[in-house]
């Protein structure tokens, strides 16, 4: 979530003259710390989050652990996010103060309360807090993390939770790898949200997770518009939400290329590379053969035997 909302916090805290310490970009050390402190059953993103907190706990007075309950009315995000502060408090020793209030982004009041509460723990000047708040909202609104490459002959839709898609350590730098292979990337933020709603309304029961709604809506959009040649879904092992959303998507994809990458702390980079390469190769063959599914193997059989 940092990837989506950090400009807001950054602008807000800067206006309040607080000194901000960001944890480093995710790396091996952070992952190791996370695995050390976190319960075994949690998923990789949660472990990485633990690692981030543990890595900066000695340098600051207040760690902001957002407890985001929902982003829009009637939608929730993962239960682990709702209990994140508790998990942190109870598994990492010697913590500085951390934020515990819940945020429901659908209600302005709840967000207001959270922001003002956060401001008050830094300064007592209320006017200053309000000014910083409105500025931070503006900064957030003008910020855009979406990726939509144009200059490549191939394009792949990267679906998955925002932290899986945008954390380059988590997904082993998949965006760069794809770009190096001459493949462009499009992410869910590049597609308008309104189109998601229509897709979701086609379901028997509306899913109540924001992540499922976004990934499902995004993939359906790609299927309809053919805005990309294939979909790669980045998921973390043991994710309860993905176990639902992937099934929902799988039900609809038909023969559209769809690759699921399940990642946990034991996943080897070489294996991921091979799978991505194979997937891209498959896409290339598909394009070359214009849809007929004959194996390209026979073609090469005779080119080597010209001398006979």
């Amino acid at each position: 979530m940092y990837y989506r909302y950090h400009p807001f916090l950054k602008a807000f805290l800067k206006e309040l003259d607080a000194k901000i310490i960001f944890s480093e970009k995710t790396n091996k050390r952070i992952l190791d710390l996370g695995v050390k402190y976190c319960v075994d059953e949690a998923c990789l993103p949660i472990k990485i989050f633990h690692g981030h907190v543990a890595s900066i706990k000695n340098q600051c007075d207040l760690i902001i652990v957002p407890r985001i309950i929902k982003e829009k009315g009637g939608e929730f995000i993962c239960p682990k996010f709702c209990g994140l502060p508790e998990m942190i408090i109870n598994s990492i020793p010697h913590l500085p103060a951390i934020t515990r209030k819940p945020i429901s982004m659908d209600q302005k009041k709840s967000l207001d309360r959270w922001v003002i509460g956060l401001g008050k723990s830094i300064t007592n000047n209320k006017e200053k807090i309000m000014k910083a708040y409105s500025k931070a909202i503006r900064v957030q609104e003008s910020y855009n993390i979406s990726i939509n490459d144009k200059n490549y002959s191939f394009k792949i839709a990267l679906a998955g939770h925002p932290y899986c898609v945008h954390d380059s350590f988590f997904n082993m730098n998949i965006i760069k790898k794809l770009n190096n292979m001459g493949v462009g990337v499009v992410t869910e933020e590049a597609v308008k949200k309104d189109s998601f709603e229509n897709e979701i309304n086609n379901l028997y029961k509306k899913p109540f997770w924001e992540f499922t709604r976004n990934s499902y809506g995004f993939c359906m959009n790609i299927l309809k518009t053919h805005n990309a040649n294939g979909i790669i879904y980045i998921s973390s092992f043991g994710c309860g939400i993905d176990s639902v959303s992937i099934e929902l998507i799988k039900n609809q994809v038909g023969d559209f290329p769809f690759l699921i990458l399940k990642i946990d702390e034991h996943t080897g980079e070489a294996g991921v590379d091979t799978r991505i390469e194979a997937f891209i190769n498959m896409l290339e063959e598909r394009r070359d053969l214009l849809g007929n599914h004959i194996s390209p193997f026979r073609e090469h059989l005779y080119t080597h035997q010209d001398f006979i």
């Binding site: 059953e41 682990k80 709702c82 209990g83 508790e86 998990m87 029961k205």
Partner: protein, 365 residues
């Protein structure tokens, strides 16, 4: 229309009586067995949790016997359970079974009208008048309540019993007799009889049995097949057991939630460690652990299916509680691969540990 429903502990008994009384055609899925699990696992997504797989097995087994409508309760919490119906419908459609799914959700979420129409869909084939239906529904809820009362009494008194195994035998007798009764009034009188009979069973109050609370995810607590009948195992060891969550609790909780009067004691207890709801029954689990500690239980066992999100959060907090309050809590995670022998060993070891912690046991070495 032939209705079927997934198994959920012994709730099939009151449901059977209810449908009998209403005159609705139904099929009770065959009792959970390895076959059920195998069928369920075959057709379910790999990463789904254990309850989903067992339920899938239930559906398919009863479809084979002729069911064409599935009744399921739904939820709108951030736990996976709320998404079951969508996925299960898709899977069954893909398998070529086109069935009706009737998902009963709390009226606040889907609107009163829709709730009514869904209930109507179930009862429209009933020959009873509508006042009769309400009366019967009320009675069947009483059956559920009494049944749980009997069970809870048996579980608690089990540790104090004089003749070993007597309580457990009575419980099974009671369930068997309930299954044989054809009418709701008979069922009520059977339950009342057993309620009294249990109180007359001799107990030795001077005993100091090991008392264990079962916490965690509601399905794995209530459905004995999913937890290898942990309750019976603990009863055989001579422990007193308390189940944290039950069907009655779930019903009252669902009805009182709009008024915010639901499970006040749990919410109060969990305040210090988890002040917000995180979906599923994570908060209840924490609250129950603290309550059990307060009620001087010797230890607690947390049960949840592999990958259960709310319970993972709860587990972290339980570890902390365990440390803070010197209260042993063991976590058992269940899925279709869990082996019974390893599971038994862990329960036995935990039980031994609790026994040794009691002062009256001498260390032998």
């Amino acid at each position: 229309m032939v209705i079927t429903f997934p198994h959920f502990g012994s709730t099939y008994i009151p449901i059977k009586i209810l449908f009998d009384e209403l005159g609705i055609e139904y099929i009770v899925p065959p009792l959970n067995s390895n076959d059920t699990l195998e069928i369920g696992t075959l057709y379910s997504p790999e990463e789904m949790c254990l309850p989903f797989k067992i339920m899938m097995g239930n559906y398919i087994q009863s479809i084979e016997e002729g069911a064409d409508t599935i009744v399921l309760v739904g939820s709108n919490g951030p736990c996976r359970f709320g998404e079951y119906c969508e996925l299960q419908k898709n899977i069954l459609d893909n398998l070529g079974y086109h069935l009706d799914f009737i998902v009963l959700e709390s009226p606040q979420v889907i609107g009163k009208e829709e709730f009514k129409s869904k209930v109507y869909k179930i009862v429209r084939h009933s020959s009873r008048s509508s006042t009769d239906r309400w009366r019967i529904l009320g009675k069947s809820i009483t059956v559920v309540r009494l049944m749980e009362q009997v069970e809870n009494k048996v579980l608690l008194r089990n540790g104090y019993e004089v003749n070993k195994g007597e309580h457990k035998r009575i419980l099974y007798q009671c369930k068997n007799e309930l299954l044989k009764t054809g009418s709701i009034d008979k069922a009520l009188s059977v339950l009342k009889y057993y309620n009294k009979r249990i109180e007359k069973t001799p107990v030795d109050l001077k005993k100091n049995p090991v008392k264990i609370a079962l916490l965690g995810e509601i399905y794995t607590i209530i459905e004995p097949f999913s937890n290898f009948n942990i309750v019976d195992k603990l009863m055989d060891f001579g422990a007193s057991v308390k189940k944290g969550l039950s069907v009655t609790w779930w019903l009252t909780d669902a009805f009182l939630r709009p008024l915010k009067l639901n499970s006040i004691n749990i919410r109060k207890a969990s305040m210090a460690y988890m002040p917000y709801y995180i979906g599923g029954h994570g908060r209840e689990c924490v609250g129950e652990a603290l309550l059990a500690n307060k009620e001087k239980f010797d230890g607690a066992i947390q049960l949840f299916p592999m990958g259960c999100m709310p319970e993972i959060v709860a587990k972290v907090i339980l570890q902390k509680i365990s440390k803070d309050r010197d209260f042993p809590i063991m976590t058992l995670i269940l899925d279709e691969m869990t082996g019974e022998a390893g599971y038994n060993t862990r329960i036995e070891a935990f039980f031994d540990l609790l026994e040794r912690r009691q002062e009256n046991v001498l260390f032998r070495c």
